[in-house]
Symmetry: C3
Subunit: 258 residues, 3 copies
């Protein structure tokens, strides 16, 4: 049996009510000796897009073999399924609401509906503690997904707004504002892979593009390729969200190949 390097936890529970800690209690009890790593518990309540982006930023740095408990669940208490997702050497567990299926690329992904005898007996408002955490512990102890559920062909997917391209004009939008106020767009780097440089506008106002913050003066805006491979707009030593606005603002990019 190969050792699980870590179990990670991602919720919108906050920490001050003890709900996230209850998950850690279950895991301490049922998966003793496996390191527990908090990804985030301060995802905005029910913010599936925020959860997905945080997980994309974080999970690819973890080694394969990790098991990831993800409970950001606007549908808590409704009849939706629980999933086990196996992809890229990682295992993710959480409600079937499009988050756990959206973190890694689809290639080779296998998805299972959790089929637990105790599912119906669980507290209807705390399935994280009563269903998902025990499933994570079983997987960490070596249980196979097949023994805990059955294959699902069509899980939910969270469809982020997609950038579009018409001729030489790429249109996208701001999908997230991070802690520093940096604006994260839905425009991926590979869409302009060969461009020598790009012209960028946010909310129809031009923004200088650069490699990083230090390419502009303090207080100035700059568009750059963020660490997640998406176009971001920041303000050097400042807060772009406060200066420019938030989610939903249009972003336009024109690549130059000269």
């Amino acid at each position: 049996l190969e050792r699980v390097p870590a179990i990670t936890l991602t919720t919108d529970f906050g920490t001050s009510d003890g709900y996230a800690a209850a998950l850690k209690g279950v895991l301490t009890r049922l998966a003793p000796g496996v390191p527990l790593i908090d990804i985030a518990h301060d995802i905005a309540p029910f913010d599936k897009v925020g959860a997905l982006l945080a997980l994309r930023n974080a999970l690819k740095s973890f080694p394969s073999g990790c098991v990831h408990l993800v409970v950001v669940d606007p549908g808590v208490g409704s009849a939706r399924n629980g999933l086990i997702v196996v992809v890229a050497g990682h295992t993710l567990v959480g409600p079937d609401n499009g988050i756990v299926t959206g973190v890694f690329p689809l290639a080779g992904m296998q998805t299972y509906i959790i089929e637990e005898a105790g599912f119906a007996d669980a507290s209807p408002t705390f399935q994280g503690r009563d269903i998902f955490a025990p499933i994570v512990a079983k997987l960490a102890a070596g249980a196979t997904p097949e023994s805990l559920g059955s294959l699902l062909e069509e899980p939910q997917r969270l469809r982020l707004p997609l950038a579009s391209r018409t001729g030489n004009l790429i249109k996208g939008e701001i999908i997230h504002v991070d802690r520093f106020g940096n604006l994260v767009s839905n425009i991926p780097r590979n869409i302009v892979a060969d461009a020598a440089r790009i012209a960028v506008s946010v909310n129809f106002a031009p923004v200088r593009s650069g490699r990083t913050f230090s390419d502009v003066a303090p207080g100035e805006s700059v568009a750059y390729w963020g660490s997640a491979g998406l176009l971001e707009i920041g303000v050097r030593e400042g807060n772009a969200g406060k200066k420019l606005g938030g989610r939903g603002m249009p972003v336009e990019v024109v690549p130059f190949f000269s």
Copy 2:
């Protein structure tokens, strides 16, 4: 010597000042190899009720044998005692202010006043680091409570407001608002154990009762039995605290046994 599954930490220190991390430093030094689990450090400053509810939500999920450091202490620097509480297989350490004695049922609880030679030398404003964390480390290393203190018959208790019952009318109040805005009342489920259904009002306005959020439409209020066994009022995909109000609001329940 049995291994301690984990040491947990609960404070109102926040994390940005390094005070909570100082506790972890002491424990890393004096209890090497024992996993440290954060319950919460963002309990509202001096909020004993909030701390107690968070601990009730969290600690029952941990395995027996754990040692729990709890420092939410409006009386810091005054002459109150420090306690070691042994109950239900768990050990809790913190000031004698009613929190550590209120997490688990009283049956079989044993309470000790900490008697440390170094107590008087400690920094008067940081007893968490200088007294309580070292005591936790000693307990985790196998020291007996008897070797660190003496039995106390009458520790402080935190008396939450009690629900009352007159005939068929149960009167309680909101005692906590959680991160989602869900309103937690002091009305326990067992008070209406046999009821076929209940009628609920909050602040004298009726609220539908249901099993969980999905029993009402998005944006509507619902009263349900929360995972801690208390009546809660939530708004589906919304925030009941913002819609209805906060701590202290009266809650009335009439059970029907037909």
Copy 3:
């Protein structure tokens, strides 16, 4: 090879974006088995003074042998160096901006510029993940600082405002407001070491001095020596920051030796 007791993490990344978790992923991957301890991720963005004070409060409680990852970095993406600092049995890793060199006293401190082949290839906006975390993992695995960098004689230092003394009058200022609203000054206890008592003013209004909060009535202000050895001003069961003001306020102390 001696075992590293823990790796600690201090950033201003917050947790909700997954950036801090990415550091933990790298460390889980490259330094398996070493406990990861969060110091703080909610340092105010780019607040070097806040980071330094938090680290001073926290790190001295950790055992020697720990490796500390510190990324609070207003200069991210600019050409500043990365440092490895070895001091007092601890190793700190982070940008050369004065934080990692300011936590422990200077005696015996050795400072190295990180020289990594991959440095230039790293994502210019996420050196924490791509440079600093891997260096921390290598140090935790036993690599010597000499193998990862070259000695630096003049690292950056963060110069906190210094208290001054003219005759019997000590002048300082408030340099930080902690989570409880306690005001932390830059006046160290040793400057008045022999004084029988002190007279204190904040913003030119007198404040009672005492040993701790319980020396004054609830709601009253008190000046006391904090756990970090600096003069602090608090309000018993209240918030001095809201009552008196914040960073930059002048503090004056007159010691009496009678």
